[in-house]
């Protein structure tokens, strides 16, 4: 288990990626220039590298020469939408690319996908006795599969991706049912209580009155 290297000369973006990845338990190391990244790559091992293409000194494409011998999977981050740039990145051996601006779920999905394909990490999410596989969309409690509807599974994933954070009702509704649907707060409550019952998490999913829901963090013994 090695950390993820985030290379972007824009500190806010590097920080944003680190925050997002830390929510699924991926520790991150940030580099704000090509040369700093090259030094880190030489001295340390990483499970994954998120690489901005436009860097002030050594650009992302050139950095690939340092990275390739280590066999570390790479996802390019690019603000350019030109097909040439994307194709060039993939040709150079990148696993995937993410176009800026990106949404957190997209980033998480791509990172999970690459980590699993590269066999670097077990990308299943764990909470107490429940194991969730985001790719297969299955959940198991103590090794026994728990049947979940798609909406229930999306709710579970949103809670797992934001542990310890109270999620607003509106955000949950939008995440799970989409922008265009018009479900009531009642629908959310019903789904949440069914999820609680199926997983036996009556005490772990907390209702915060008038605000939303929160999945508690595990107390490390």
């Amino acid at each position: 288990m090695y950390p993820v290297l985030v290379v972007d000369d824009e500190a806010p973006i590097a920080e944003l990626i680190s925050i997002t990845l830390s929510q699924i338990g991926l520790p991150c190391v940030q580099a704000h220039s090509g040369s700093q990244a090259a030094d880190l790559i030489e001295s340390q091992r990483f499970d994954l590298i998120l690489l901005d293409v436009m860097l002030p000194d050594v650009d992302g494409f050139e950095l690939m020469d340092y990275i390739r011998p280590t066999g570390t999977p790479v996802i390019f981050l690019t603000a350019r939408t030109a097909v040439d740039d994307r194709v060039r990145g993939l040709r150079l051996g990148a696993y995937d690319y993410i176009v800026k601006p990106f949404a957190a779920p997209e980033l998480l999905a791509r990172v999970e996908g690459v980590l699993r394909h590269a066999g670097r990490r077990d990308t299943r999410l764990r909470a107490w006795d429940v194991v969730v596989d985001p790719e297969a969309r299955t959940a198991a409690k103590n090794g026994v599969p728990v049947p979940l509807t798609p909406h229930e599974f999306d709710l579970l994933l949103a809670l797992l991706h934001n542990r310890g954070i109270t999620l607003y009702r509106s955000a949950l509704l939008e995440l799970v049912w989409g922008m265009d649907a018009d479900p009531s707060n009642r629908t959310l409550d019903i789904h949440m209580s069914r999820l609680r019952r199926k997983l036996g998490w009556e005490n772990h999913i907390r209702t915060v009155p008038r605000i939303g829901y929160m999945l508690e963090e595990e107390k490390t013994p």
Binding site: P12, E15, I19, A79, I165
Partner: protein, 469 residues
């Protein structure tokens, strides 16, 4: 049909016509002369025969047709035995057309003889039965009996045979001459049109995109002039193409850079806003996210403001008025941020008045001063100067900072070009500052002149027009 082929055919046609007409005329002249010669000769023969026949008739005293006929027959018999049958053929006729005697070839028709008699003694009649040619002479026999005519027929086929031979010979000659001349003309016209073909192939390869193709000089005045004009055109097209290519490369660099400059702050703003709107983040993270959103929005706002200013400057002109440079320098000094890292040293001619827009010129100088300060000057100072330069004034902004390489100097006024991106970013640069400066200078009818050496510093000069009348 190609020009060279037309030229060859034209030359050949002209030659063929000249040779044919000339040849026909010459051969005809020869024929006429030969006919005249043979006529003279045959007339002499005819006279002699006539005299001989008249003498024979007189000697026999023939007064009737029958006796005359007998006399003539015997005369002809003598003649035949002495000189041979072929040499002399004649006929004797009376006025009514009754033939007294005839040793004429059968081919010569009776009408021809009558015609010759009707023509009289002076005339010559020709007849052409089959392939033979005959000359017919007629004259009246005088003496014993009136009304008798001697008609002689002479074979002149050989004269015409001679003409035919000449004709054949001449045709052979003409054919040979035409072949030779044709070869020469083809070679000549091919050679003459070679520059045209060179031009054609050059034009074709230019059409296929080889804009660097040129035509070699060929040594013929007209074609050389044409080739030079063509080369001049090709050079113009090529330089235009290069300019367009440069322009297009600049455009696509601009679009790529602009996209990047736009999307980078947007990524942060969207990402942190999403984070805040998802749920109750811990207070420290909430503060940090709001901070990022605020600063990145400021960056976007500055970018859009500068872009609009740039577009405005590129589209419309500005009103220029006399402005005292020391006032502009004062504006700049007041507008510098409180944490301005360098000393601003001004050295301004107090009389300096230039034709300018006070606010825009102030923006320009301020941008240059901020850039100079960001270059980490060794003595911690930015030198601002204004001195007389010819009829006008020259503003200078000098620093002793890190300087730039020549390769970078040519591109620093390009939008979003940053020599050191990370440092420019920390200093709040959007990459549009120098583009704006260059545009403002252009609006003042001037241009920025950069002089820089890595490690030694940079001087920017701006020549301006005298503002006093």
């Amino acid at each position: 049909m190609t020009f060279s082929r037309k030229l060859t055919l034209g030359i050949l046609l002209l030659l063929c016509l000249t040779l044919s007409i000339g040849g026909a005329w010459t051969i005809d002249q020869n024929l006429q002369a030969a006919l005249l010669r043979s006529q003279t000769q045959n007339t002499a023969f005819h006279q002699r025969e006539r005299s001989a026949l008249e003498q024979a008739l007189r000697a026999d005293g023939a007064h009737s047709t029958v006796t005359a006929a007998r006399t003539i027959r015997s005369y002809a018999g003598e003649l035949q035995s002495s000189v041979g049958a072929q040499s002399f053929c004649f006929s004797v006729m009376d006025e009514q057309g009754t033939t007294l005697y005839s040793s004429l070839p059968r081919a010569v028709r009776y009408e021809t003889l009558r015609q010759a008699i009707a023509g009289g003694a002076q005339s010559v009649t020709f007849c052409y039965p089959g392939t033979s040619r005959y000359m017919v002479l007629a004259s009246p026999l005088q003496g014993t009996m009136d009304g008798l005519w001697l008609v002689s027929v002479y074979d002149i086929t050989s004269v015409y045979a001679e003409r035919d031979r000449e004709l054949r010979q001449y045709l052979l000659l003409e054919f040979t001459a035409l072949v030779l001349a044709g070869t020469a003309a083809a070679w000549f016209s091919h050679r003459m049109t070679r520059p045209l073909r060179a031009l054609q192939s050059a034009a074709r390869s230019m059409a296929d995109g080889a804009y660097d193709r040129r035509v070699p000089a060929c040594g013929q005045a007209e074609f050389d002039a044409l080739g030079q004009d063509f080369n001049a055109m090709a050079a113009a097209v090529e330089s235009r193409m290069d300019a367009l290519r440069d322009e297009s490369a600049r455009q696509s660099r601009f679009v790529a850079a602009f996209t990047h400059e736009l999307k980078t702050p947007m990524t942060s703003i969207l990402g942190y806003a999403d984070l805040l709107r998802m749920g109750e983040q811990p207070p420290e993270r909430r503060r940090q996210a709001a901070d990022y959103i605020y600063h990145e929005s400021k960056r976007l706002e500055a970018l859009s403001r500068q872009m609009l200013q740039l577009l405005g400057l590129q589209q419309g002109g500005i009103a220029l008025a006399p402005v005292a440079v020391r006032l502009v320098f004062g504006d700049v000094r007041r507008s510098l941020p409180e944490d301005f890292p360098a000393n601003l040293c001004t050295d301004c001619d107090p009389d300096a008045v230039v034709l300018a827009d006070r606010i825009l010129l102030g923006d320009l100088v301020r941008n240059l001063v901020l850039n100079a300060a960001n270059a980490n000057p060794g003595d911690g100072a930015v030198h601002l100067g204004c001195h007389r330069q010819g009829d006008g004034w020259e503003l200078t902004v000098t620093d002793t900072g890190c300087g730039m390489a020549a390769r970078e100097l040519s591109r620093i006024t390009e939008p979003f070009y940053m020599v050191d991106k990370s440092r420019a970013r920390r200093a709040g640069g959007s990459g549009l500052g120098l583009s704006l400066c260059a545009e403002i200078a252009r609006a003042h009818g001037s241009a920025l002149v950069f002089e820089s050496e890595p490690g030694k510093g940079t001087t920017v000069r701006l020549p301006l027009k005298e503002g006093r009348e």
